[in-house]
């Protein structure tokens, strides 16, 4: 009897344990967190693992070189060859140095311009603040290599570009090589594009500084410069760090600019080198480069966060503080506003003018009025121009590409918004639990992987079937998967901030009233967060429309999008068509922006946290 009672007790305990476990598992945020973990595991961790494995195993292409080996055997071959072999210098080290040069240079330039402009707009009495702010969002709607393309129109020279650019035409003298191609043009064109991160982050930070902090310094007798250095600067440092991380990791993995301005003079970066290796199916070597790229991006980001001393520095600073005293510009007012407007014109308007102009020239480099034509837009196929490609508006390939761009962006925006809701909910509701922390950290990983390397990760993942997933290589779905995966950090962040705005009591009140989790979501959480998600949707739509680095390694002729088509046209020497495609792309982004922002008051500005 006693023994019987004991087992009975034990089974009761087990039963209670089972029920508790079941209840834990069916708690909405736990359940959703677990689903998110599985999804992120498939989308991030496993691909990374597979990529690393590829670099340390024998690939088909290696069989010619490695004797007596079978595909899949472990081998140090790729690493030794890429890091210590004869080709290491050309294949790895030079591109690495170039990549670092470009990202550091562009980041420094962007920081200088963005920081100065933020200071001008927030802390001086410069007029036209609204206009400056609005113009500053324009780089967000332009592909990052737009300025690079316009650069070639302006500065290319006969030596390496075949035909003269506008500058050469005006001056009559050949444009020097350093100005036409290579590091300086790449740095300047990307710095001018990315300044806007710094501008937005730093101006938000400056706005949120309580002026009494500075006044306290002033009362203590500190001079203006000391206050700037000791009080203001440390307070905006986290914002600068956010801008740094963002710009650095973007420029590190950027493909467009270096491809347009570097490759023609054999100035390779890790991204362009990676592309030329995957282009010939040399995945073992290519992935070594991708890993090097990831390592460098990660190390820099970690160092940066350590120096700033805040792990969350990638979060933009929000909140509106008190209005600080504004520096009076006095006589400089007119000069400054003109300077800012000219600058923004150069960044936002001039490139478009140059690009449009170039599309109207029948032959590049010929600047006489008789050379003007609409042939590149609406001309019939003519073998003497553009290798027989018809004008872009008559070209079915362009329509296919535009359609691909749009549906890729819509699907990505949809899934990203969906993941954002789920991630935001599971992270915020689970705050303080280990599960929530793991989800949050896992969601951050894609942020530190440069775009082109992230694309590379996916080559290895989906060339063969994996688990329940069929081989996706070459499919449109793969582009959606990679774009959604790369957006996970952003969707998590916007999801969390949207969810934090809904006080937890609002959902709890509904739970007390007897609402099921689904009813709570549908009637309370969703209506209260939808504005944020429309803005998030819009942001994702826009960034995906103009995304290139991420997908360049994964597109195939049938899945070409507009962004990748510009590269193909450039590489084939069809400059005018490439530029026309960029114009179409920007037009579509603006159109999408207009349509989406009609819904529920979402806006680009809100999406940017302005």
């Amino acid at each position: 009897m006693a023994v019987f009672g004991k087992t009975d007790q034990r089974s009761q305990k087990l039963f209670a344990y089972g029920r508790r476990f079941f209840r834990w598992l069916t708690t909405p945020h736990v359940f959703l967190s677990l689903i998110m973990l599985v999804i992120m595991f498939y989308m991030v961790i496993i691909p990374l693992y597979r990529m690393i494995m590829t670099t340390i195993t024998v690939q088909d292409i290696d069989l010619r070189v490695i004797k007596d080996a079978e595909v899949g055997d472990l081998t140090p071959y790729h690493w030794v060859r890429m890091l210590f072999g004869q080709i290491a210098k050309i294949m790895t080290y030079e591109p690495l140095v170039h990549s670092l040069t470009i990202s550091l240079g562009a980041t420094a330039l962007a920081l200088t311009i963005g920081g100065l402009m933020a200071w001008l707009v927030v802390r001086t009495d410069i007029p036209g603040r609204e206009v400056i702010h609005t113009l500053a969002t324009i780089p967000y709607i332009m592909p990052s290599w737009t300025i690079a393309m316009a650069w070639t129109v302006m500065f290319k020279n006969r030596t390496s570009g075949g035909t003269p650019g506008i500058l050469e035409f005006i001056t009559g003298a050949p444009t020097p090589d350093w100005l036409a191609y290579g590091p300086i043009p790449i740095i300047v064109s990307s710095g001018l594009h990315y300044y806007t991160f710094f501008f937005l982050f730093v101006s938000a930070a400056l706005l949120s500084i309580d002026s009494s902090l500075e006044e306290a310094g002033e009362l203590a007798g500190a001079g203006r410069w000391v206050i700037m250095r000791k009080i203001t600067f440390p307070l905006v440092l986290p914002a600068i760090a956010s801008g740094f991380i963002m710009t650095f990791s973007k420029t590190m993995g950027t493909f467009g600019g270096p491809n347009v301005l570097g490759v023609p003079v054999r100035y390779y970066t890790l991204s362009t080198m990676l592309r030329s290796n995957t282009g010939i199916g040399n995945y073992g070597d290519a992935f070594v480069l991708a890993i090097v790229l990831i390592m460098f991006a990660m190390v820099t980001i970690m160092l940066n966060q350590k120096m700033v001393g805040t792990r969350k520095s990638y979060e933009t600073i929000g909140g509106r503080g008190f209005m600080a005293q504004k520096t009076k510009l006095r006589n400089w007012k007119g000069f400054m506003i003109v300077l800012v407007i000219i600058f923004q014109f150069i960044i936002a308007v001039l490139p478009l003018v140059l690009l449009i102009w170039s599309t109207l020239m029948l032959r590049t480099g010929n600047y006489s009025p008789s050379n003007l034509t609409l042939a590149h837009w609406i001309g019939q196929s003519d073998l003497s121009i553009n290798n027989g490609e018809p004008g872009v508006l008559l070209n079915p390939k362009i329509y296919k590409g535009a359609w691909n761009s749009i549906r890729l962006s819509l699907w990505t925006a949809f899934f990203t918004a969906l993941l954002g809701v789920i991630l935001g909910y599971s992270i915020v509701k689970g705050r303080g639990t280990r599960l929530s922390k793991i989800v949050e950290q896992l969601a951050f990983i894609p942020y530190v992987i440069p775009g082109i390397a992230f694309g590379a990760v996916y080559i290895s993942m989906f060339t063969k079937p994996f688990g329940p997933i069929p081989p996706l290589y070459g499919t449109f779905a793969l582009l959606v998967v990679v774009s959604v995966a790369k957006h996970i950090p952003y969707s998590a962040r916007s999801g969390v901030s949207a969810m934090l705005q809904v006080g937890k009591e609002l959902e709890e009140a509904a739970a007390i009233a007897g609402a099921t989790p689904w009813q709570r979501f549908k009637r309370i959480i969703f209506p209260l967060t939808s504005t944020g998600f429309v803005s998030g949707f819009l942001m994702t739509f826009i960034t995906t429309m103009r995304e290139l680095s991420l997908i360049i390694l994964l597109v195939t002729p049938s899945t070409q999008v507009l962004a990748s088509m510009t590269m193909r046209y450039i590489e084939n020497g069809n400059e005018q068509q490439a530029n026309a495609v960029i114009i179409i792309l920007i037009f579509l982004v603006l159109l999408g922006n207009f349509i989406i922002s009609r819904f529920r008051g979402g806006s680009l500005k809100k999406g940017l946290g302005m």
């Binding site: 039963f15 029920r19 006080g503 609002l506 009140a509 609402a515 209260l528």
Partner: protein, 360 residues
């Protein structure tokens, strides 16, 4: 009809913090029980455990006939199945819904007909005197009005138990007074078992049938307001309840019916215990005389603080300081000599070691 609540050995931890520590509490049907204590003592956590918004780590909770939580049995009903309503500190009205929608949300879930819902909305708005506000949005109302709507939202679906977490703390002093009156009437009329959380002892004293005083997750005393005030179970409760504060003095029992406080003795009920004690006497249980009287102990009026209805006198004798309360406006001047006598029936003795009340 009303519902009892029984809590057995309830524990809730957040990491290393034990917010609720092995609490056992029986709440009689129809009681108005107030959880009272300083900020951070675990009142909210205990309330949330009852509501089901928080999952305890151990123990059992029974509401009416229902076992709503039991760790041993692995049971924890979701909040919606516990037949209770909760009023939040910040009201938690849904900002995107009108008053009407806020109130009918729960009714829709209960699948009431449109007519019934209209009727319930009317009734509950009448109960909180907010008739005609159906179409307002929360942001279009003042804090006090939102508070009433939050109450109406709870009343409308007729839960068996009312839970309230510092519902008045965001209101200004006058509104708070009005709402106390209303809440007490509401409880009187509905007769629903109510658990009310506050850190304001006046609120607790004026409205409750029972007060449970908490400190660091442990219930120190659960009694009627009268008992809590006149027979605080330990020094913490004695010190926490009452304004101005109770006088606590260390002394030793020197003989039957007398405690030696060093400079003077006070008369007490006869205790059979001797040794070190702490004497607790409320300011209003000390009488002041301006002339020497029998058993009077000479003090000096250190400060005199009239407040209209009564006057607080801080009396000193050497190191010893006592707070005395006189009804009305006192004629005593500062620095004047005064003679204090102590109401021996009102004096409580506490064990110096444990701090617990010594029962005579």
């Amino acid at each position: 009809m009303a519902t009892p609540i029984i809590i057995r050995n309830l524990t809730k931890k957040f990491g290393n913090v034990v917010a609720v520590n092995n609490v056992s509490l029986t709440i009689e049907p129809g009681a108005f029980l107030t959880l009272l204590g300083p900020s951070g003592c675990g009142k909210t956590t205990l309330l949330r455990c009852i509501s089901g918004l928080e999952d305890p780590d151990d123990g059992e909770i029974v509401i009416g006939e229902k076992l709503v939580y039991s760790r041993a049995k692995g049971i924890s009903l979701p909040p919606g199945q516990r037949d209770l309503g909760l009023v939040f500190q910040n009201y938690a009205l849904w900002p995107h819904m009108t008053v009407y929608k806020n109130i009918t949300f729960a009714l829709e879930i209960q699948k009431l007909s449109k007519e019934d819902m209209d009727k319930r909305v009317k009734e509950s708005l009448a109960e909180v005197q907010m008739e005609g506000y159906e179409d307002r949005y929360p942001r279009e109302m003042s804090g006090g009005q939102q508070q009433r709507i939050a109450l109406a939202r709870m009343l409308a679906y007729r839960p068996k138990v009312f839970l309230m977490d510092e519902p008045l703390s965001n209101l200004d002093a006058r509104l708070r007074m009005d709402m106390r009156t209303e809440l007490k009437r509401l409880h009187h009329i509905s007769g629903a078992t109510t658990v009310y959380v506050t850190h304001d002892q006046i609120e607790a004293m004026t409205m409750s049938t029972n007060i449970a005083i908490m400190k660091e997750g442990v219930i120190q005393q659960n009694d009627t307001p009268d008992k809590v005030y006149h027979y605080p179970a330990n020094l913490f409760v004695a010190d926490f309840i009452g304004n101005p504060k109770i006088n606590l003095m260390e002394g030793w029992v020197s003989g039957p019916g007398s405690v030696d406080l060093g400079k003077f003795n006070v008369p007490v009920r006869t205790y059979n215990k001797t040794g070190d004690v702490v004497v607790g006497i409320r300011p209003e249980d000390i009488t002041v005389s301006t002339t020497p009287i029998d058993h009077g102990v000479e003090f000096q009026a250190y400060s005199v603080l009239p407040s209209g209805a009564d006057t607080t006198i801080i009396a000193r004798k050497g190191e010893t300081e006592l707070t005395v309360k006189e009804i009305g406006v006192s004629k005593i001047q500062m620095d004047q000599k005064i003679w204090l006598t102590f109401n021996s029936d009102a004096i409580n003795l506490y064990d110096k070691e444990t701090g617990n009340l010594i029962n005579g």
